[in-house]
Symmetry: C2
Subunit: 518 residues, 2 copies
């Protein structure tokens, strides 16, 4: 199993069918194959050897698809970079896994000098935008034009396919190593569970550096489907793409579904080509999924739950649980049951399975479990114990095997599909000269799933406004990690052992609306 | 990936749903899990260690399903034995892979003494029938009743799961070694391609020792489906099972479809629960599949092509090719295109891909390729070259990647889903004292796909009737391998190099009807 396999099959079976559509630009599988094999030739000429990492820092585009396939074809390893990160964070990831080549589009050109400063290893920059390449960079189109196709390296099975950086439990980004086989089987899960049907017309609205989008991409490749790509999520862009291209399948975050439903022009568009929506990455409210089902009555909604370390799908809530009997029994409130390739257990601190209905840690076994964290054997051993990935999520399982996620055991916030680790935000806040103590929590947010909230105790006599604290954080960490709200307290609630009782804070602030801070 | 994984998931998600139905006996997944884990305990007590082979010689039953799962659960390797074989052939297979335990049902009790004589390794016989066990045998039910459950050995991935004996190119049965991963992914192909939907009610009419049935069994386990099992194919038994149990999916051989359609009582039964028919193992005539589609207008027909060495599916012809445009373009005459997990090429004698439309050998790569032939490294190396399994089938591929099987490069006949190698039959015929020369070929047969035909040159002055030759063969090889027709010729057509020109014989006898010999 290797990730260019779907492309090879499509070249054999569907050479003239449309593989990708990006802002009206259509490429057939035949064109895709030609571009990918030539770009791989270019990567070889640049010295990429089996297992070498190649980064990508870009908004969504057809080139993002070609990047993935060409890196695999060349025998390399993809390192898709979070577009929300600061130059310091990006450089940390690239340096950590020794990435020497980086592709990037126009949106990130102004980071180049900073990145060069911070990453001495970064030798080659490849411009993957629509215009002419800057003079100090190679060009994506030039590499395709100037190189002959090379044979597919066909790395496969447990060979490393990608390193996906994710904020770890300790707050420092860790490189999650995922194999070809893990990603291929995640695609099989999508096909077998009916979440991404074969020969569909699927929409990429989720950022393609996220494995949620990568999973959809691989499932569509395996199924010979057409990938409709928009640069970034925006309701009108989604509506336009569905109506113009007859999109039948879309992968969305709950926050995106919310924004689509809230949009005043929703009714104006002809969206009835849509048959399947796959959603996940963060919890969804019952009210939201109900509204979505009413708005799109002929769409089958499939929910997934998982994490990057699981390639990413662990559980699936099939469309049948969103309606009729499945819904009536309350199954629609769960995150689904173990997928066709996965085993899921709720375990206690010793890794022993707990009785049904008891809350414990969600543990997952199967071919999707990561190869490990890049260069972090201790963290890998802590997370994957006896083949079981310990997710850090608290959950319970009912008698039908449905998993209900009730809490995060690890102190992590998921906002807009991104993981934010409280400890990292707390470090940033504590660097402010006026701050004595700080606890960062996630507060339920209808649009983003959760938003970052900082509870602060100021130093005696010191002064600071919420806006000042937030501005301070923005100089240190990515914007999406910065607190959206700040509360100033006299003291933090502590346990006898001196630990901050975050659940008390969460209860206190659960009702804080998303109002302007100041 | 391991083959009890589906059972574990079903135990978690569907403990009270029906796992198997055999002659009215229904067992839930909870009962299945209990029986399997206890039977595995019994196998452990009998000394079965990881990788040990356990044979099964039985008509279809719910115990055949339990046998497979218990052997895997115990860490063993399944050796399902061809029920059409003679004691000599069975003993050859069991001895070849050193099988010490054999389960068998009432139908095969009269072979026991002969088997014991021929196989000194065979230490333990387990009676898997409905009555009381003979005094010199252990009992399947006794092993379940008398042993406590043991934990699942969870052998997985490339661990050996089964040895399937198949007549090889040389006519001597070879043990095809198939891994857990290969069988699991074959199940994923069935699910992803829509051939065996999740949560279906599927019918086992194909003998369960065949991998065609094994593939369906594993797909149903992975999908949490109900397995309806009949002891052996018979039209009325199939009709009864469909009508009584609301069967939605059936896996059938073309010869079985023919017999169902020909049956005078077909119209009497309520068969409209049926939604999917998966067929393969041998070619189907256009007339037959047309008649089938007219008779079952709401059934989606999916064809597969493959072989035991491929676990077994290589290509799939989805339902869409059986109707509408796919059919109009002639795709329904093909054996389908590479499945979602498989690569297929048509190659020349050097293994180089030939142009589309050119006839060559069908070669297949993917996770389904066997681990090898048991203890036959030379034969393995000849069949699997640079990861590609060379099927021995001649075929061509069209511009859509559809594969048309046009001839067998290996001299093999497929009759009723069974492989018969001409050379083996020729050896048997030639042992008749009156026979000077013999060439055995397959002739198209509407019911069986092909039937075995022997062209014979008698020794000067010697005499023999067709019936005598056939009776002679029956004492040496399995009944289904024996010639159905015999022609006596003055001479065999030979090439300049002295080789029998079998294609000339095939042309001469293609029109011989299935008349009585004598």
């Amino acid at each position: 199993m290797y990730l260019t396999q779907g492309l090879h099959r499509a070249l054999q079976q569907l050479p003239d069918e449309v593989a990708s559509i990006f802002l009206g630009r259509r490429r057939t599988f035949s064109e895709l194959g030609s571009r990918v094999s030539r770009l791989a030739g270019g990567l070889h000429r640049l010295g990429v050897k089996p297992g070498d990492r190649v980064g990508m820092l870009s908004l969504n585009s057809d080139r993002y698809l070609e990047y993935h396939l060409a890196v695999y074809w060349a025998g390399g390893v993809a390192v898709p970079v979070n577009t929300g990160w600061s130059a310091a964070e990006i450089a940390h990831a690239l340096n950590d896994c020794e990435t020497r080549l980086l592709m990037l589009d126009d949106r990130f050109l102004d980071l180049v000098e900073d990145l060069k400063q911070r990453s001495k290893l970064l030798k080659t920059l490849i411009y993957a935008g629509e215009g002419a390449a800057p003079s100090d960079m190679l060009s994506f189109e030039g590499l395709i034009a100037d190189n002959a196709p090379v044979p597919d390296a066909c790395r496969s099975g447990s060979d490393l396919a990608g390193v996906y950086y994710t904020a770890g439990t300790t707050g420092f980004p860790k490189g999650v190593m995922i194999s070809h086989q893990s990603l291929y089987l995640n695609a099989m899960i999508c096909l077998a569970e009916g979440a991404v049907p074969m020969r569909c017309i699927g929409l990429h609205a989720v950022p393609m550096f996220q494995l949620a989008a990568g999973g959809q991409m691989n499932a569509m490749l395996a199924g010979g489907s057409t990938q409709v790509i928009i640069p970034r999520f925006a309701p009108l862009a989604v509506f336009d793409a569905i109506a113009a291209e007859g999109v039948t399948q879309a992968s969305l975050l709950p926050s995106m579904i919310q924004m689509l439903l809230d949009h005043p022009q929703l009714e104006r568009f002809q969206l009835n080509s849509l048959k399947n929506i796959l959603y996940g990455s963060s919890p969804i409210s019952e009210a939201l999924i109900e509204r979505a089902a009413r708005t799109f009555p002929s769409v089958g909604f499939t929910q997934w739950y998982g994490m990057t370390e699981l390639s990413p799908i662990a559980t699936v809530l099939p469309a049948s649980y969103h309606t009729g009997k499945g819904r009536k029994d309350g199954g629609h409130r769960s995150a689904g049951r173990a997928s066709v390739c996965t085993e899921v257990r709720i375990v206690d601190a010793l890794g022993k399975e707990v009785p049904r209905g008891t809350v414990g840690e969600v543990a997952v076994r199967g071919p999707g479990v990561m190869l490990g964290y890049w260069n972090k054997p201790a963290e890998t051993a802590a997370a994957v114990r006896h083949e079981w990935m310990h997710t850090g999520d608290g959950g319970r399982m009912d008698d039908e095997g449905l998993v209900y996620i009730v809490d995060r055991i690890k102190d992590m916030i998921v906002t807009g599909g991104e993981n934010v680790y409280s400890v990292e935000v707390e470090h940033a806040v504590l660097e402010h000269p006026a701050v004595a103590k700080c606890a960062v929590i996630g507060i339920p947010d209808e649009q983003w799933g959760e938003r970052v909230h900082a509870a602060i105790v100021l130093k005696s006599g010191a002064k600071a406004t919420a806006a000042e604290v937030i501005e301070h954080c923005k100089t240190r960490i990515a914007g999406y990690k910065c607190p959206r709200n700040v509360s100033f307290l006299e003291a933090l609630p502590l346990s006898d052992a001196g630990q901050v009782l975050k659940h008390l804070l969460r209860e206190s602030f659960a009702q804080v609306r998303n109002r302007k801070v100041g």
